[in-house]
Symmetry: C2
Subunit: 664 residues, 2 copies
């Protein structure tokens, strides 16, 4: 059965052109071709094989990762890949490694926060991997609250140096990836102290290990923080712990683009606006939203293909059992996640535009849109990563028992993905930031400060408070304007209700704490509105390809109506729709599921994931699941011998000794 | 700081007697003392140490498990433990092992389905572990649909034997725990074939491996199915694959309590009612509900203690930051899970009573309550395991970044718990069974068939359809009758709406498929009603102990009002309550959280989990989290050497080679 496409029938059912959809998913023909080329390159390279990693002990796994990282660097140089291509190669290698932090955090931190001289000094070394760096911010006792960090960098007038110190156990740097075993350098965040005055947290470049023998430098204690979730997942990464015992670094190793310390120990600001930092956050979070769509798409692809292969119940007269993808319960759980993957993709695409826009404005010293852009990316980061994490686990459940096997690819995908809900801003903390922004926008409504961008709808407060949905038939819910208005009215009313309740508190901060759970719900409603709106805006563009736009319209409606059903309480409580209209939306949703069904396999094929990248037997392109599951089982180390290690020592005596006493 | 109780202040705040609550949680003084004694016994035994298991490779982990299982057996015999004590010891060992299936499935299957002679033949061997058995039901291609199993047991008239055969790849037995490497015997489920006639699926005892050399017997292919979710978790178990190539077993190895095959090949039923099988299902699922409360309680205990230790934001003038347990967002996520753990405990206690009741009735050939009891246990199994699985992950998120460390105990708890959502009935399939039962009960309402037990409220259909909540103040939601009526009305109306929509389909089965998602929501509402009702009924009993009942009343209200808020859409859509009443419930909920806050630590202390059983540094009884996290990190194998394996081979060349070309 090798070479047979067991899903060919499913692929023939598709009512649209998959190759065109692949380009829409990728964002452009260039992006498609790049991903396609590099993913196949990685998939065909035996060094990048990853189906055995979950059986490895910690040390072997780490060594395997070092090997792959070195091989990736070798191939990047041999093939003369550019930055974009190199990033793709590391992505498709699909095994967290110290190089992720070197390229993703250390180098960008120097670029973003270093002066021109500092960049000239450090970037050539980093770009050639003559030094390897990590990003040492979080501490054992301090995560989200960066201003609470305890590590100190005290200026020594005499020697023109900073003294890095970890004054307490809780000030130990904790979590930085690449720190534990590999990094030679780090960007370290520490409180700047000059003459006993605390200037708050700043970044410093510190060398951690000798470039000769790789041993930690004097005064530096450093190690790996131990095992994490999953068997492989982030255990391939040396997340580390780091303590400084009065370690000295030259003054010019403070990252001084925004503020400087002079030879005299004077703290001064440069002309570079501080807001640049927010620009970087917009950039990083935009990538996280993009990654959320990718992670979710992998899980959805696996669950969709396997749901077409798996059959259960419903056999009549000896015929085949029913494909589980034909069950409405399966569709009602799976298709909204399929729609979410597409929705997040387009939200990410729009955020990329937003980042460009913000950057241009920053360069022109226009900071007016920055707070809104910041709130918006914070919210979308939170929303998309939470849905992706839960969605991966839901996809695993949709694969039944076999989803629990490592060879399904889903356990590792979950374990490796979930940190996204915590890093770069805990998702709950971020939603509270969004809520704070919304409350501020509302409080300024009367002072004539018009809300901008994604909060512009709040400016139509009176209209939205009057709104009543005019849906009378299920099909009415297919109209984009009907959907957007309902979502706008719901979000606006939830925010306005919070604002009103807050006004009852004499101390606004007490109110904010007390009503935090409601505020989070209002922020969520706002973020969902953004994703729905951006999906609809995408569909107002020209989208070429036979049947492509129609499919996206179906997915867009599913995304919106699924949310409406899930949060029907919000829509009813705020009086935006009636129970009858809610029930019509649900009816429409069921009919949309039927429309997706014949296109489901083609819609996940459009993600263009290689079997290597998916790393899932259940999600194999050819659907040849059972023979490969069977084949894979025998590769487990436990099957190396018929009699397992420990049997003679621990089990046999038990069976044998007892037999002697037995009567039978 | 060793020996200091960092949570002493928290414990002093408690407004109730923890030692009395421990007995309520355990169910009785006997149960408390048993658990307390055995859990400490296991915790103090160095062989049962488990904090290093996540770093082990597959083979070492398996060997470690064999060692512990043998030691458990040794201790059970040395101490002369009875069955109840032995089970507790295996539970507190807390590492899945082949013995779980031997004692939990193989022995009970023979007891439940074997004739008296068969029991006399096999149980003494099994009880002394002279043979070790597993339970071979599911196949590679067949899970929930037991009737779809493909393995055959064909009667051979000539030799008076059954021939076990695996006719297809998909008929390979797949998943049975203990099968892969250890079991000598199995209860195998196969289609009984006599003279080409298929009599459906029956159980057979088959020997798999030689008792001399442990090698698989001729015709038997057997192995481990490979890695599963998590690093340790179920990877300590040899879940197996098994194929039969025409393997012969004597006729008397069919389990013949309910139906027999005679020497002549005649298929006959005994006088033992078939319904007994359902009695067993009620028994097994009752235990699963109990286990759900335990699993959830472990996660909640960890998250609650750590939330009192962890501080973040809110520091003013250099004072301590705020304990995260004081944030309303943390409380709104954590306290409903705490309440759920208690709610499920009492639901499990009631199910235990139900099982006794059903058993007594079965013995008296009264089958009248069996379908209701079956639907009820199926529903509660589904509800509690889903909430526990999601709740464990939510608790992990509540611990922020550190929850991702294996040493938090939460990743492994999640990985080891989630199969409960799939085994013994997939949770979605079970809810559909509940829905089917509800639809049947409704269809019989007019024919005078009064619904019984947990569905009795459907008999008050007219009254519940008229119901409008009369809540006017937030405190009204504290009245048990107010809550129960609202939940009854919601559940009844959702079921009745489904029944009405179903009646529009000419083919009821089509309707059932089409409306499956709605039916699941109705079944969920019904199951939640059961848990709420049983919690309230528990509180109508005499509960001794200073302040104990008051605390449980608060938790009961939190459980109910949290559900009401979460499913507010149901309550509004069905017109049971108004948006204003929903908002009052939410207001009451916030005030209840404040009441739990000072008691939170004592409420999780009442679970009486040892530090060994919790296996979590974040959840340590003494709250001494940071020093122990720091200490634990250094134990990772990666910290055995300063320079990691692979560094010289893969990283050094890269750093050194480049340095030669560098300009700096």
């Amino acid at each position: 059965m090798e070479g047979v496409d067991h899903l060919a029938d499913e692929r023939n059912k598709a009512q649209f052109d998959v190759s065109d959809m692949k380009i829409v998913w990728a964002g452009s023909r260039h992006a498609y071709e790049l991903s396609d080329r590099i993913s196949r390159l990685v998939a065909s390279d035996p060094v990048f094989k990853k189906d055995n990693v979950s059986t490895l002990g910690r040390k072997e796994l780490f060594k395997n990762t070092l090997k792959k990282a070195a091989h990736a660097w070798k191939r990047i140089n041999e093939l003369g890949l550019n930055e974009e291509e190199a990033l793709k190669l590391r992505t498709f290698m699909d095994q967290p490694s110290f190089t992720d932090l070197h390229w993703g955090m250390f180098v960008p931190a120097i670029k973003g926060q270093g002066t021109d001289e500092q960049q000239q000094q450090w970037l050539p070394l980093a770009n050639k991997m003559q030094i390897i760096g990590c990003y040492a911010q979080t501490e054992l006792g301090h995560g989200s609250n960066v201003q609470g960090l305890e590590t100190t960098a005290t200026f020594d007038h005499k020697t023109d140096e900073f003294v890095l110190n970890s004054p307490t156990l809780t000030s130990s740097k904790w979590w930085p990836g690449g720190l534990g075993k590999i990094s030679t350098h780090a960007v370290v965040y520490a409180r700047l102290i000059i003459d006993d005055k605390d200037y708050g947290v700043h970044g410093f470049i510190a060398q951690l290990r000798s470039l000769n023998d790789h041993l930690p430098l004097p005064g530096i204690t450093i190690g790996d923080i131990g095992m994490k979730f999953g068997s492989a997942a982030y255990n391939s990464m040396d997340n580390g712990v780091l303590r400084f015992d009065h370690v000295r670094i030259p003054r010019n190793q403070m990252l001084m683009r925004v503020s400087q310390v002079t030879r005299e120990g004077k703290y001064v600001h440069s002309s570079v606006p501080r807001q640049l930092v927010y620009g970087t956050m917009v950039y990083v979070r935009q990538i996280i939203v993009f990654d959320a769509s990718v992670a979710l798409s992998r899980a959805v692809c696996i669950a969709t293909r396997y749901s077409a292969v798996r059959r259960q119940f419903g056999s009549q007269n000896g015929s085949h059992e029913t494909q589980v993808i034909d069950y409405k319960t399966q569709q009602a759980r799976l298709f909204p996640l399929l729609a979410s993957a597409y929705a997040f993709r387009f939200a990410g695409e729009w955020l990329k535009w937003l980042y460009t826009d913000v950057t241009e404005r920053l360069q022109a010293k226009d900071f007016s849109t920055l707070p809104e852009a910041h709130a918006c990316t914070a919210g979308l980061k939170s929303l998309t990563t939470s849905v992706a994490a839960d969605g991966i686990e839901e996809c695993r459940k949709l694969c039944g028992g076999h989803g629990y096997l490592s060879s399904s690819g889903l356990p590792e995908l979950f374990a490796v993905y979930i940190p996204a809900c915590t890093y770069e801003g805990d998702n709950v903390v971020l939603l509270l930031q969004v809520a704070r922004y919304l409350m501020k926008a509302i409080s300024q409504l009367n002072s004539g400060n018009k809300p901008v961008g994604t909060t512009a709808y709040l400016g139509r407060k009176e209209q939205l408070m009057q709104y009543r949905s005019d849906v009378v038939r299920a099909e009415d819910w297919l109209k984009p304007s009907v959907v957007v208005e309902a979502f706008e009215a719901r979000a606006a009313r939830m925010s306005l209700a919070c604002a009103q309740n807050l006004s009852k508190f004499s101390n606004p901060e007490d109110g904010f704490q007390e009503l935090a759970a409601d505020l989070i719900e209002a922020a969520t409603a706002h973020c969902q509105l953004i994703v729905v709106s951006k999906f609809i805006e995408k569909l107002q563009q020209d989208i070429p390809g036979n049947g492509v736009k129609q499919q996206l319209q179906v997915l867009c409606s599913i995304y919106a109506l699924f949310l409406l059903h899930k949060h029907i309480g919000d829509f009813l409580t705020t009086g935006c729709i009636t129970p009858k209209q809610g029930s019509l939306a649900n009816e429409q949703l069921r009919s949309l599921y039927s429309q997706v069904r014949p296109n489901a396999i083609a819609l996940v094929d459009a993600f263009n994931h290689t079997d290597h990248y998916l790393g899932s037997i259940l999600g194999r392109y050819d659907g040849n699941v059972y023979p490969k599951l069977y084949e894979e089982a025998w590769k487990d180390p436990l099957n190396d011998t018929v009699i397992p290690d420990g049997f003679h020592e621990y089990v046999e005596p038990l069976l044998k000794q007892q037999l002697r006493n037995a009567r039978l």
